[in-house]
Symmetry: C3
Subunit: 203 residues, 3 copies
């Protein structure tokens, strides 16, 4: 039940960022909604295709589709009253990233895959929706930015995998791990946290 609610909140969060990112192009409500839906459902679709889970989550349960459509349409009308859209987009993206990474890690573990596959699927699922959004709207993918992005997702997925191994029944595991990702990523956005120079590429 908690997984289900968290999943829907993550879907809504990514749909909102899809609308915000697309909106700069002066697009119409339907194309924007489509981009919101693709952003929201894209990461989990890739996860389910790679893990060969059938049917794909939003085909099995249409409520995911309706939530992404509704969140997109509501955002379309509300976003004009919001200032600092780009800054807000980053934080909502961080929230979706946290939720998707941990839920995908947990789903992969529960399907019986090994720990490294679960961590990689968590990171890829968390990042993929936003990558698709950024490529379709011609933005620079957040992954390529000069702040922590993949790192919080990886740390959170590792933390969750360790907790899941030692306390498999603990209710709050996923909240701890989601918190790790969100706090790290939000700090990175706010204070530009990044690696020391020797861990950055120079040419």
């Amino acid at each position: 039940m908690m997984i289900y609610s968290l999943g829907l909140i993550g879907i809504a969060a990514f749909a909102i960022t899809g609308v915000m990112a697309a909106g700069k192009k002066g697009m119409d409500i339907l194309s924007i909604t489509l981009l919101g839906v693709v952003t929201a459902l894209g990461g989990g679709t890739l996860r389910d295709i790679i893990l060969d889970t059938n049917p794909i989550f939003w085909v099995a349960d249409l409520f995911y589709l309706w939530v992404s459509v509704s969140a997109s349409i509501i955002t379309f009308f509300l976003v004009r009253f919001v200032s600092h859209v780009l800054h807000l987009l980053l934080f909502i993206d961080a929230f979706g990233l946290s939720l998707f990474t941990i839920l995908a890690t947990e789903k992969t573990l529960m399907l019986g895959f090994s720990n490294p596959v679960a961590v990689l699927m968590g990171v890829v699922t968390g990042i993929a929706g936003g990558m698709i959004r950024d490529i379709l709207t011609g933005r620079m993918p957040l992954l390529l930015g000069k702040e922590f992005y993949a790192t919080p997702a990886l740390l959170g997925a590792v933390v969750f995998t360790i907790l899941y191994y030692h306390f498999p029944m603990h209710e709050l595991n996923r909240l701890y791990a989601i918190g790790v990702i969100f706090i790290l990523r939000a700090s990175a956005i706010q204070w530009g946290l990044y690696y020391p120079k020797w861990l950055m590429y120079r040419e």
Copy 2:
């Protein structure tokens, strides 16, 4: 039989647009043919992967592959005699969009999926091939343009789903729905039809 022919025509139409779009880059005949093939088969491949239809349509029936290869090569040699290539590309894309959207909606319905899934798969299949083409060739996706693009596809898919529900055996359902999409999209290209301002994004 009619479905099969319409599918082949749609394949050829998208292959032609792939060649036309790639051609601006001064590429060689084989790379251009590859882009034509990927454009033509990409949308349906995504549809079959998401719906887990095995084998994928062009693996099951090689004729689709040969049609996309032939259409690409013929276009390669003929396009130099054509003026107004970009304008023509838009209309052929509109034709492929109409065919692919309706055939994917019908295939999804016939596989027993629910109406909303069928409509979404129709729109996504219709748009995906062209999106892949535009991303690979560095163009702005038509979806982001300032004319109706997703809207005709959605309306056509909805019209077809309603007709299919009420007159499941009617031969001409798909022609009516294809006509709805093509006429709306062609009008949008010709006269720049678009949404009223309150349904467009402003920031």
Copy 3:
């Protein structure tokens, strides 16, 4: 055994090119490693999804994942001592392209698919990883460049398919075909080999 080793070498080669391509952006070690991994595993993942091979190769055997991670991290630290990075990238990419094209052609044939499907899957698998890398890092895909790229892959896949048909047990078939691709592509890079004008697009 030889297939396995060649596969791992190809994985490492593409991981190296992913790091080299991403590096220009001043990214951190983890994001770069992720791009190396996606470049290395992307083509084969697409192949396994289209052919519906379960589980996907790097889920079935984690060693592929570790090789791509290790190659990425080692490249990250070593690349700063290398000059002419871009030129080197092209040759390592040519090497990965040769290996992946032939291994994918062989895998598709061994799964019982027809020759044309095997050739197309070989070319698509060989090219896809590099395409994903170039799109994610905002480079012009090598396929669109003004040298042979798809052509050597296609010729090699055709050569391998013919050899496989006539001498199915011959150990060195794949080495011959890999050689065909690499020599053609390396010559194209070195001397700018390309098609005669009438096989190039002009508008």
